[in-house]
Amino acid sequence: MPVNRSRALVLAAAGSLFLGACSGAGDTDGAAAGATATPVSGGSLTYAVDTEPVSFDIHASPQDITGAIQRNVFDSLVHQDSKGEFHPWLATKWSASKDLKTYTFHLRDDVKFTDGTAFDAEAVKINFDRIVNKSTKSQYASSLLGPYTGTTVVDARTVEVHFSAPVASFLQAASTPYLGFYSPAAIKKYGSKLSAGGAAAVGTGPFEFTSYTKGQSVTLTRNPAYKWAPSTAAHTGPAYLDKLTIRFLSQDATRVGALTSGQVQVADPIPPADVKTVKANSQLQVLTTDAPGANYALVLNTTQKPLDDIRVRRAVLRGIDIDTAVKSVYFGVYKRAWGPISPTTPYYDKALENTWTYDPTLAAKSLDEAGWTGRDSDGYRTKSGKRLSIEWPLMPQEYIREQRDTLGQAIQADLKKLGIEIKRPRLDIGTYIAKVYGGQEGIADYSWARFDPDVLRLYFNSSSDPREGGQNATFYKDADLDKWTDQAQTTLDKNTRQDLYAKTQQRAIDLALEVPLYVRTAVVGVASDVHGLKTDPNTWANFYDTWIGK
């Protein structure tokens, strides 16, 4: 399967937007309280998020937040539920050629963009062609289209999408908002200005993009003509809410304060430190959801000294008191991680749990064996006069989320006890990318949200070289890992995949290629009078079914 569902969720600019269901897997009423009550139409809701999109252009932006907001404005050809099943949406039915190089979609005939333009095969072609156009500068959607060669308009209601190579995951890609559809009229009129959002963002979705005030908010209003919701939705026809305001409150304290003082009804995320306070408030509820994909981890560069020595890597792996650190930084809200991928990701290997507990004695022994036996005046280990020092750069503050810098300080302190110096220079983002993905740093830290274990290939397959856009910042070349992750893609047999992915996860930890730290968790605060919050498989909020009770 091509690497086309990858989402740089955790890389900070792509801030998280996991909204609410009680379980990450259910298309159920998120805010379950009073679920039995009859939905009422009307009212407005304010939703506070921590990230402001740089661009609102779904075809260009790589950001989660863009997709999360625009999900309410743009529809997709198909809808994927949290079990991975596909349902009709703008397409009533579809088929794929045997070689998986051509997909044919039959479109609904009653769909109109909010500017009145009809949604038809031509609109699909115009949008897909726009995505791959160089001037769109697509940073994500184009990768979803992968080896796209073109779209053929068979008739007004039928399109064929062509690829130069098999794309098994295209349906999944097509279900994301990034492959949503702008009104061709809007594309013509606004061209490159689509990134500004506002009136330019004309879609077919349940909400219209009314206005955007930079630094402050986005306002969406109900699309009264909407009647083409996917069948999985709780109701049909227009959305309940008259108005949906999305406020950008990047400061944790401010966002939480806005929720507790009733200025917003939904706030995402709630920082772990405040979860207790919010929970204690009878007017509020907290919904936590584990995210799928790769856990937040220290990715160790195996080509740089001293981490090229597996004994040092193992010392790092066992020398950090992750339990305590994660618990104190995240107040027990986030779970510590035991493997590269999160428990909600398919083929998660539960066997890894509790196999590599904190063991400073073992870590010290490992370092002794590696020859780091000397000590300098600052208490750090040395080998032939050289200090045991590892560089782990910091991104600019604005890209740092979830207090990872604080967690980093705890890790730094733990490793210092062990005699390892962790240096954390602050780099500007250009330098950061050049050095980290150029393999010049000791440690990189990131996570990767993805509803598929193929993330393991992205992380550990040697072909996934960061210098060419991959994510294997371990720079480790292991024949087994390559073989297993490649094979897992060519089969749909669940047992085979289970076996391959389990071996991959175990080997990654065995080789100490990374130090998994915590499972990313969406924590959303919701006012108790908000009902019917829905999430899609990306765990993003869908406000289509949401209504406000009395």
Binding site: Q251, A325, Q403, G408, Q409, Q412, A413, D414, R424
Partner: protein, 286 residues
């Protein structure tokens, strides 16, 4: 002149002195403490500013931890104390740099030729057109974050102001009665510059620099607050304040104490600066 001048002094000056004196004792005490804390933070606490103790994270201020602990269980009192050196050093270093750069620029403009003056002053004008924080921000953007870079950035931000002042003072001094008197005496120009112009032009600058130190400290901490200053875990007040911002509702002490440290340091320096200014004005007024 009439008795007006006789009547005025006894009414004003002694009262001013007595009114301000207790404040000065307090200021001197605070400043001494700050200097001691900057030089020997270990004198005041045995706790480490960087060692974590997650078991005691977010402890409220009390006997064990006077200022409480932060999220990782580090002692805030120790961090504030150890942060003194970095923060004060930031303020002091940037002021010294700014004053030095400003003096050189200003004196060169005032005493150099007309074109030197024009060129330098247009540069200074362009720099003055930008608020110090913006200049500092730009400078840090170029230099990258870090203690030394913030110091340089703040110096860059404040030096145009000093340059302006030095130039103005030097021009006033250059046409002053005593420089004319020295000219009439036949003093050589280099001697004139060194003996009369430079010291007198720099006098007000040094006074201003005292007050400027407070501003530099606040500005430098501001850059740290924005995440551009010294990098964690090294304690610095602005950085700590920024960390504490997320705990306002749950653990106010993380942000409040570093903020108070900045304020009190700036305040005591400003009290001294104001006094120096008042004294200086009185001296030059005769």
């Amino acid at each position: 002149m009439t008795t007006l001048t006789v009547a005025a002094p006894p009414r004003r000056r002694p009262r001013l002195r007595t009114a301000v004196r207790p404040a000065h004792v307090a200021t001197a005490a605070v400043l001494t403490l700050i200097v001691l804390a900057a030089a020997f933070p270990g004198l005041f606490t045995s706790a480490s500013p960087v060692d974590t103790d997650p078991v005691h994270a977010l402890t409220a201020p009390g006997a064990a931890h006077w200022f409480g602990t932060d999220q990782l269980g580090r002692d805030i009192f120790a961090r504030v104390l150890y942060g003194t050196r970095t923060s004060v050093w930031l303020g002091l270093g940037s002021t010294v740099l700014a004053v030095a750069a400003g003096s050189v620029l200003g004196l060169a403009a005032a005493l150099g030729g007309r074109w030197t003056d024009q060129a330098l002053m247009r540069l200074v004008d362009a720099l003055l057109a930008l608020p110090p924080i913006l200049l500092g921000l730009l400078a840090v953007t170029i230099l990258g974050p870090g203690t030394l870079n913030v110091m340089i950035a703040i110096a860059v931000a404040f030096s145009p102001g000093y340059a302006r002042l030095v130039r103005a003072e030097a021009l006033v001094v250059r046409t002053s009665g005593y420089v004319e008197s020295a000219t009439v005496l036949g003093l050589r120009r280099p001697l004139l510059v060194v003996r009369h112009i430079v010291p007198n032009a720099l006098g007000p600058l040094l006074v201003l620099a005292t007050v400027g130190f407070g501003s530099s400290l606040i500005a430098a901490s501001g850059l740290s607050f924005l995440g551009l200053g010294p990098q964690p875990p090294s304690p610095e007040w602005g950085t700590m304040l920024s960390e504490g911002r997320n705990f306002l509702a749950t653990a106010w002490w993380i942000g409040v104490f570093p903020g108070a440290a900045i304020t009190f340091t700036a305040l005591s320096v400003n009290v001294v600066g104001r006094r120096a200014q008042a004294r200086f004005t009185r001296r030059t007024d005769g």
